[in-house]
């Protein structure tokens, strides 16, 4: 097992590190015959942010329950602050996966209750309540019921509750699920500040962009830790380079390069892995120069043009998929059994003009325009409550728009007609499979519902089983499948009738990177056969997979375009800078004094800084840090992520609106 980096004491985090605060050794936990945790070892030091990265059911939550002292381990030793977890409970704050808040209590009442349970003296409570609510930006909402807060605010309140007793250790189990990107970034900045104040933080997340913000991470898969180390070290240890390839015929190029890649290691040409990523191909190669030459050569031989070829670092996703693939079987999508070919169509599959919807006085969706062509994957992004679900409901005719027009697969009226429904597929967030039926029974049920001709029925069901890697296991009860498999079966059920338009509502929540990649291969295969696909997600990382995307904020579309275009359209540039260990908190404070706070954000031991005009502003930054006595170890420009682009756009819009409002005032 590739655990080399676990032994490596390097990484800047440990240099700052103090005592071992969390010590987990050979931890096992089983429930009856089900083993959730099978031999987990890790240590977390004071002031460290340590990430446990893994899918649903990987054993993260069980580990948290044990560390919080509410579940006994089946075997192994666990020490928290040198004590048994139960004894250390008063010095540990725990943020559970579901909001541990009472929705019918107000913000202050929730805080007061937790303070009472943890025996915080009244005077301390008043003082800390002020501090924490101010820190989280919740001060104006003290009297609001917790149930009426947005997802991001709820999560911040939950963090306040966990912090009211000044814990030395914070356990955060998937704290940013359903939180909008701006709140998410603020949340992580608070975590960085806490770690700076020597609070030890263990955080679980299924998302790899959050992993980048941890000092060290451990990949946990099926109850075992597969990888452990700093994000930088893990990427370095992979020993591979990522090429971002943009070319006109992505499908052909992918097939071509796939052929050239070795399944079990680098092929002679050095190509390890190829993946379609929205409007580009990601090619992993063992050597940058040789790999690039190989890619260009192969494509040229087939007469395929190369628009652009960028050499960059591998992502954490590359690390995990490459590591995990050593155990999983990677199967290519099989051809979907169809009775005939499908005509290529040029008219839009889904179109909306000035789509609006209000509920009472509340404007859920305002003036949204979008157009999705056949064969295109379109991403509808936004936080919980941004209007994604309302938009989808209007697009497939479940909800009447207040204003605007919808056309779906060529129809503009009667969107619920039986004929049209037969051409539409829908997969909801919660997999709509019956847990107590076998996989085959589930699929047979949906095949019956859609009225698929008998001749095709069997072949299609076999196709779903085969493309999910479940051949011969069709009689397994669906409830026993792990999340990633279940999701693929659910996708299979949604496409049994070969729809022309496919709606996928948050299809990849709680799925590990390998399963997610498999899933996107399926989606890509359908798109190539001419299906129009509309995907919603609240994770920007996922949006990279879309051909085009639009981002909703409070019901309004704020960004639209291809992922590359969205990032390219972002004004200014992004710098990553590193300061000596221990100075990161102070330098963040210094920079936030001089620059708008959203321009500065912390990623583990580094800072990200958005500047509009690099030349003069960079000199200014150097001077400001210099005056504060902080040395800059490294400073380099890095590409914007979609998250950066989104946050930048939102903040600039808000600033422009505020300025506009000021001008409008007499």
């Amino acid at each position: 097992m590739p655990r080399s980096s676990a032994a490596e004491p390097g990484g800047q985090a440990l240099a700052t590190g103090g005592d071992v605060v969390l010590d987990v050794q050979a931890l096992h936990r089983s429930y009856g015959s089900v083993v959730a945790v099978r031999g987990v070892d890790f240590e977390v030091r004071a002031g460290e942010i340590f990430g446990l990265i893994g899918a649903d059911g990987a054993g993260k939550t069980s580990t948290f329950h044990i560390l919080a002292g509410m579940l006994a381990p089946s075997a192994g030793t666990v020490r928290v602050l040198g004590q048994a977890p139960r004894q250390a409970r008063s010095r540990v704050g725990y943020l559970t996966q579901t909001f541990s808040l009472y929705p019918d209590l107000s913000v202050v009442e929730n805080l007061r209750y937790v303070a009472g349970l943890r025996r915080v003296a009244e005077g301390d409570f008043r003082q800390r309540r002020q501090e924490l609510l101010k820190l989280m930006g919740l001060a104006p909402f003290g009297e609001r019921l917790a149930g009426q807060l947005s997802g991001g605010m709820k999560q911040k309140l939950a963090l306040c509750c966990a912090l009211i007793d000044r814990p030395q250790v914070l356990l955060l189990d998937e704290p940013t699920t359903g939180v909008d990107p701006v709140s998410r970034r603020e949340f992580w900045d608070v975590l960085a500040r806490l770690a700076g104040a020597s609070v030890t933080i263990l955080v679980a997340t299924p998302y790899l962009d959050e992993a980048e913000r941890c000092h060290r991470i451990a990949l946990i898969h099926e109850g075992r830790i597969r990888q452990i180390g700093t994000p930088a070290a893990l990427k370095r240890d992979l020993g591979l380079t990522r090429l971002e390839l943009r070319c006109p015929e992505r499908a052909r190029a992918e097939a071509l390069l796939e052929e050239a890649s070795g399944a079990d290691g680098p092929a002679p040409g050095g190509i390890v892995d190829v993946q379609t990523f929205g409007d580009r191909l990601d090619v992993l190669v063992s050597d940058a120069a040789r790999g690039a030459a190989e890619v260009r050569g192969r494509l040229a031989r087939e007469g395929l043009a190369v628009e652009d070829l960028q050499v960059t670092l591998p992502t954490l996703e590359n690390v995990f998929v490459t590591r995990l693939r050593q155990e999983g079987v990677q199967s290519l999508p099989l051809a979907f059994p169809r009775s005939g070919g499908r005509p290529r169509r040029a008219d839009p599959a889904i179109a909306a003009r000035a789509l609006s919807r209000s509920f009472g006085g509340f404007q859920a969706v305002r003036q949204v325009d979008l157009e999705v062509g056949y064969g295109e994957i379109f991403g509808l992004l936004g936080a919980n409550g941004a209007g994604k679900t309302t938009t989808i409901k209007m697009l497939c005719g479940l909800l009447e728009p207040s204003a605007g027009e919808v056309s779906l697969a060529g129809e503009t009226s009667r969107l619920r007609s039986r004929e049209l429904l037969g051409r539409i597929g829908y997969m909801s967030q919660r997999f709509t499979l019956y847990d107590d039926l076998s996989i085959r029974q589930n699929l047979a049920f949906y095949a019956g519902v859609y009225g698929i001709p008998r001749a095709l029925r069997r072949r299609r069901i076999d196709w779903v089983l085969a493309s999910c890697g479940l051949e011969g296991q069709g009689d397994l009860p669906t409830g026993q499948l792990p999340g990633g498999w279940k999701q693929r079966v659910a996708f299979g059920a949604a496409v049994l009738h070969d729809p022309q338009v496919l709606f996928l509502d948050e299809p990849t929540s709680g799925v590990d990177p390998v399963a997610r990649r498999q899933f996107w291969r399926l989606i890509n295969a359908f798109a190539r056969s001419g299906t129009a696909i509309l995907v919603t997600t609240h994770y920007l990382e996922e949006a990279e997979q879309c051909n085009r995307l639009c981002f909703l904020v409070a019901g309004r579309s704020v960004i639209e375009g291809t992922p590359s275009a969205v990032k390219a359209a972002q004004p200014g540039c992004l710098f990553e800078l590193q300061v000596p260990a221990g100075f990161d908190q102070r330098s963040a404070e210094v920079l936030r004094r001089h620059w708008e706070p959203w321009r500065v954000s912390r990623f583990a031991d580094r800072l990200h800084l958005v500047l509009d005009d690099a030349g003069p502003e960079l000199a200014l930054v150097r001077r400001q840090l210099g005056e504060a006595g902080i040395e800059i170890l490294s400073l380099r420009q890095i590409p914007f992520s979609l998250e950066d682009a989104f946050i930048g756009t939102v903040q600039r819009t808000a600033a422009a609106e505020a300025a506009g409002a000021l001008e409008a005032e007499p």
């Binding site: 959730a36 919080a68 579940l71 349970l117």
Partner: protein, 372 residues
């Protein structure tokens, strides 16, 4: 008071106040139950339709018939046909009285006259009541007319010691208190407990290091207060609506009610701790509550009639002892000497149920198998 218990108690009361469901459970439903049970349950039978076939048609037979219908217990059936048996068959009458043609002649001659009485036996209990009542009316008629020998050797003269007016509400309403004050406080407590598990807020509670006893005591105190308010409303309005007042010293009832509410709340907490979902808890609490408080407590059917294995169950039903306390306060009025033991039993039941709930919640950890 321990600060944790206080924090828990305050939080429960805040949540209670905000939730319309629990407010309804605490005040609206108990009052509705009081009205329904108080008005609907009538053990005494009145206005029983009786068909009389007077074949004698003499002044004496007519005066016998008049005597029969003089009380409100019997009333003439609307039946107009010839055959009284048909009236029974059709359900137009519950009993048929057939006076033979020689009725007055035989009586005047000093001979025994027989009247045929047919009673609908479908409802066995009612049939017995009707038979006894007809028997008594007949005897009264004979004595009144001086048709029987007044020199009977033994004559039992009965007088009702408590509730001399045989006011039925005096019997029913104190029993209704026992049912209502058991069901609703236990439901509220069970919901308060199981909701924490269902919404997973219990994890935060586990992580805080509060003990099982502290948590349950905080919840119990909150719902004891709610139960007290409920008792005040139900008993106060019950007295006004049904005109029942204290017959003696009310302090045993006061102490007994507090203990009884504690017992109900502890029972609810215990079921809340043991159930995985709100549905299961509500069904468990209401099913067990109604079965025991309604049927095995002596509320309607005498405890002494319950056959052997079930009588053991009945012996540990707190409602059974509270009914004794409550009936003593409103009907008997003997006070402490009469019910001290019953109050003690209710107190013990509260302690046992609370201890069981604490034990069940135990180490404040996740159950095996529930952790994932």
């Amino acid at each position: 008071m321990n600060s944790r218990i206080r924090a828990q108690c305050i939080k429960e009361l805040l949540q209670f106040r905000r939730d319309r469901l629990t407010l309804g459970l605490a005040f609206l439903l108990p009052l509705l139950s009081l009205l329904i049970l108080g008005f609907a349950i009538r053990l005494e039978t009145k206005h029983i339709p009786v068909v009389v076939q007077d074949l004698d048609r003499s002044p004496l037979s007519r005066s016998y018939t008049d005597r029969l219908f003089a009380t409100n217990q019997f009333q003439p059936s609307r039946w107009q046909g010839d055959d009284p048996v048909e009236a029974l068959d059709r359900g137009e009458a519950r009993a048929a009285v057939i006076i033979p043609p020689d009725f007055s002649r035989r009586l005047k001659a000093g001979k025994t006259a027989s009247i045929q009485v047919l009673v609908d036996g479908t409802d066995a209990n009612n049939a017995r009541v009707i038979r006894n009542s007809l028997q008594a009316t007949t005897e009264f008629f004979l004595r009144d007319r001086g048709l029987v020998d007044a020199t009977q050797p033994v004559l039992a003269r009965t007088r009702l010691w408590f509730n001399p007016g045989r006011k039925e509400s005096l019997y029913i309403v104190p029993g209704v208190y026992a049912v209502v004050l058991w069901i609703f406080p236990s439901l509220l407590a069970a919901i308060a407990m199981v909701r924490e598990k269902e919404k997973r807020t219990i994890l935060q509670v586990y992580a805080s290091g509060i003990g099982a006893g502290e948590l349950l005591l905080g919840k119990a105190m909150a719902y004891l207060l709610v139960g007290g308010a409920m008792a005040l409303v139900v008993m106060g309005l019950g007295s006004l609506i049904f005109h029942v007042g204290f017959a003696g010293d009310p302090t045993p009832l006061l102490v007994g009610t507090a203990a009884y509410l504690a017992s109900a709340v502890s029972f609810g907490l215990l079921l809340g701790v043991r159930s995985a979902s709100q549905n299961a808890a509500v069904q468990g609490v209401s099913l067990i509550g109604f079965l025991t408080a309604l049927l095995l407590s002596g509320f309607i059917y005498p405890v002494s009639n319950i056959p052997f294995p079930l009588s053991l169950v009945s012996a540990v039903v707190p409602a059974r002892y509270f009914i004794l306390i409550s009936r003593d306060a409103y009907v008997r009025g003997t006070g402490w000497p009469g019910v001290a033991l019953d109050v003690l039993v209710v107190m013990v039941s509260a302690v046992v149920l609370f201890a069981a709930a604490c034990r069940s919640l135990g180490p404040m950890q996740l159950d095996d198998g529930a952790g994932r």
